[in-house]
Amino acid sequence: MKTLLYTSALAFICMITEMLNLRKFILPVAIVGLCVVFGINFWEWGNAQSYYYNMVVTDDFSVAFSGLFLFLGILILLLSGNFYKNEESKLSDYLAITLFTIVGAIALVSFGNMAMFFLGIEVLSISLYVLAGSKKKELRSNEAGMKYFLMGSFASGILLFGIALIYGETGSFDLQQIAEFATNNQLSSLFYVGAGMILIAMLFKVSAAPFHFWAPDVYEGSPTLTTATMATLAKVAAFAAFYRLFSSSLVNAIPAFAWVLSGVAALTLTIGNFSALQQDSFKRMLAYSGISHAGYLLLGILSLYGKTDNAIFFYSVAYGISSMAAFAVAIVVAANAGSEKIEAFNGLGKRKPFLAAALTIAILSMAGIPPFAGFFGKYYIFSEAIRNGHLYITLFAVVASIVSVYYYFKVIIAMYTEESSEVVFSIKPAYTVVIGICIALTLALGLFPGILQLL
């Protein structure tokens, strides 16, 4: 609760400092503020509480995920100083909207009522629509914003219809009361149709196939930092909300949709991995790889009645930090080489060994190769899925992750074996810091996965 309030307050402070003409201090204030909130967040650890008649419920799950969102938020803010260098007059808007994205994400993991869940999803999405379309003069960015907006609000409509049907069946928006009603009563088809529509809307939001078609376009067209926000913060937040909603109130619906979910997971893995093979744009490849990661995380959702929150959290952390490192490297390369194609990475191993090594580690972690964090993320998710009796889909996911190694290695091969086109390279210290932090964490979590068994 405190986390939610303080982060919103920080966003307002960002907007007010612009009015007071203190533009120089906005970025440091926002970063230091988020670090403070990150610390305050863990005061609520181990002390589950509910506020405002169960509107907001904080427990270990919400504290752990809020911590991850704040951490990713700090990294994004560190990168944004240089990224928005040419648009200083709009810096406060960018920062405030980014902070509101984090507010939406935090609301999405600490809701106790459908109203709060809906508000969280909308705050997160509306901020991202603005950020995706924020390069006003660039048609590609406009187009990304428009596509994201249309798909997002379409999904919100479906989500709301589902919520309305669940309300019609149970007579309440409170997750606890819905869960009580669902266990004590014979459920009619209204409940299942409602749960199905919420499921579809959430699959839209996490960009699982066959609802994934917006993701590559939006990821490619948006400014790269916004793409990083969408791929890490928004995707993880959507999955955490998915887990929290279905595990706390709609558990009864999961067995009815188990076949649908395994089918969607299989389709997502196939489409994500095989489409990523054909991409020549690095951003678009990361978008498809993000789709395939949604497939792996869906295995955690599929077996959520076995309490898979720890596996999902570990995977989210591993995926979040390695993606952030990959996007940070992509921003540096794109700024220097002026292109987001995979060819732009040619010869990076000779020109900037640090960047090349960092990207290699991030990519190996995403591919799930030990000893990096991504390996244990996949390991926990797969073992949970097998423990809950989803053997075949897990085998399928293992095969899919072998396919993914191919396109990940395409980038590594480009970096180390291709000839470089001579470009003078410069890296800003903020990028070095962010990449360093992400890589250190990826290695630490890969070598000592025991330190993050929080839930």
Binding site: E143, F149, S153, F154, A164
Partner: protein, 107 residues
């Protein structure tokens, strides 16, 4: 008198009307090509939901459904404001609101 009429119409009828309205909205989003009409279709979807919420709220004798409608309205207004802003920037660049013009990124 009027309240009696509301209570004598069974809840199924409300569900059907909102489902039909919602489907019209979905069809509009999927098949129309003018961005403004797509926005209107999305509003239609949201209003179908509002109707359903109010009907259920009166059916359950529970006010929270009607409060939820206010949340939906407020959020829909915010959402459409952002959407229209994006549409204006697109119109400035391509002088059209036809979403088929948006194919710089491959679908």
């Amino acid at each position: 008198m009027l309240l009696n009429i509301f209570n004598t119409i069974p809840i199924q009828y409300y569900i059907m009307v909102s489902a039909v309205l919602f489907s019209i909205g979905v069809m509009g989003v999927l098949f129309r090509r003018n961005a403004i009409i797509i926005f209107m279709s999305i509003e239609l979807m949201l209003n179908a939901v509002n109707l359903l919420l109010v009907a259920f709220s009166s059916y359950h004798n529970d006010a929270s459904g009607q409060v939820f409608v206010f949340f939906v309205m407020a959020v829909a207004a915010a959402e459409v404001a952002v959407g229209l802003a994006i549409l204006v920037t697109i119109f400035r660049n391509v002088h059209s609101v036809d979403i088929d013009e948006l194919k710089n990124l491959k679908w």
